[in-house]
C-alpha cells in the first residue's frame, strides 16, 4: 500500500486513498477530506498551469509531523496527505488531505487544521503560469 504521506508528480485517486485510510480501522464513522485543485482564474488573471517548487526532504518531514500531530490532537484513527509537485494544469488536483475518526466532528476539525497548517508551514511554493508570464503566489497573511 502507498505511504500515508507523499509528495509526488503524478495524480492520485481519491477512491484509493480513502480505501487505504479506511483499511486502518473498521471503527471509522466519519472521514473528512479536503481536495485542493488548480483554478483557471486567480486574482483576475487566467491561469493555464501551476508549477511547484519544494524543499523536498523538509516538506515531507513537515507533512509527516503534521499528520502525527493531527492524529494525536484530534484522536484520529488515521490521516493521509498527498501533495503534487511538478506542473499541474487548470482543474487538476494539487493536494489531498483526509482525516478519519469514529465521529464526524474530530474528522472535520482535523481536516481543516491540517490544510491550514500545511499552508503555513510546509516548504512548498506555487507559481501561476499565465499566457502572459509567470509569477509566484504571494500567500495572504
Amino acid at each position: 500500500m502507498s505511504d500515508a504521506v507523499r509528495l509526488q508528480l503524478e495524480d492520485f485517486s481519491q477512491d484509493e486513498e480513502v480505501r487505504a485510510l479506511r483499511a486502518s480501522s473498521q471503527r471509522m464513522g466519519g472521514i473528512a477530506i479536503f481536495l485542493g485543485c488548480a483554478r483557471d482564474f486567480s486574482e483576475g488573471r487566467d491561469v493555464c498551469e501551476i508549477g511547484f517548487d519544494a524543499y523536498r526532504p523538509m516538506a515531507l518531514a513537515e507533512l509527516e509531523r503534521l499528520r502525527a500531530e493531527a492524529i494525536e490532537r484530534f484522536s484520529l484513527l488515521d490521516a493521509r496527505i498527498v501533495h503534487r509537485l511538478g506542473t499541474v494544469r487548470a482543474g487538476d488536483n494539487i493536494v489531498f488531505i483526509a482525516a478519519g475518526a469514529e465521529h464526524r466532528a474530530p474528522a472535520l476539525e482535523a481536516c481543516r487544521w491540517m490544510i491550514d497548517e500545511l499552508k503555513e508551514r510546509v516548504p512548498i511554493w506555487k507559481k501561476e503560469i499565465t499566457p502572459t508570464g509567470e509569477s509566484w503566489v504571494t500567500p495572504h497573511p
Binding site: Y55, M58, I115, V122, P123, I124, W125, T138
Partner: protein
Amino acid sequence: MIKVLFFGPVADRVGLRQIEVPFRDGLCWQDVRDVLQPQYPEAFALVSVTAVNGERVRDDGHTPLADGAEIVFMSRVSGG
C-alpha cells in the same frame, strides 16, 4: 563547507538554487545571512523563515553550525 539552498521566489531572485560558503569554527547562520544579504538584497527582502538541516531555526542565529550544514532562507510558503 556550508550548503545554502534557495527555492521558489527566493531562488528566482538569487538566480541560483545553491551556494556554498566556506566553513569556519563558530560560524552561525546569521553570519551566513550577513554575507549573502548585501549581495542579494531583493531575494532576502522575501525571506521570512530560515531552516538549518531541515528544521526551522528557533535560535537567535548565533548557535554555531557544524561543517556540512545545510541552510535554507525561505520566503512565505504557498503550497496547498
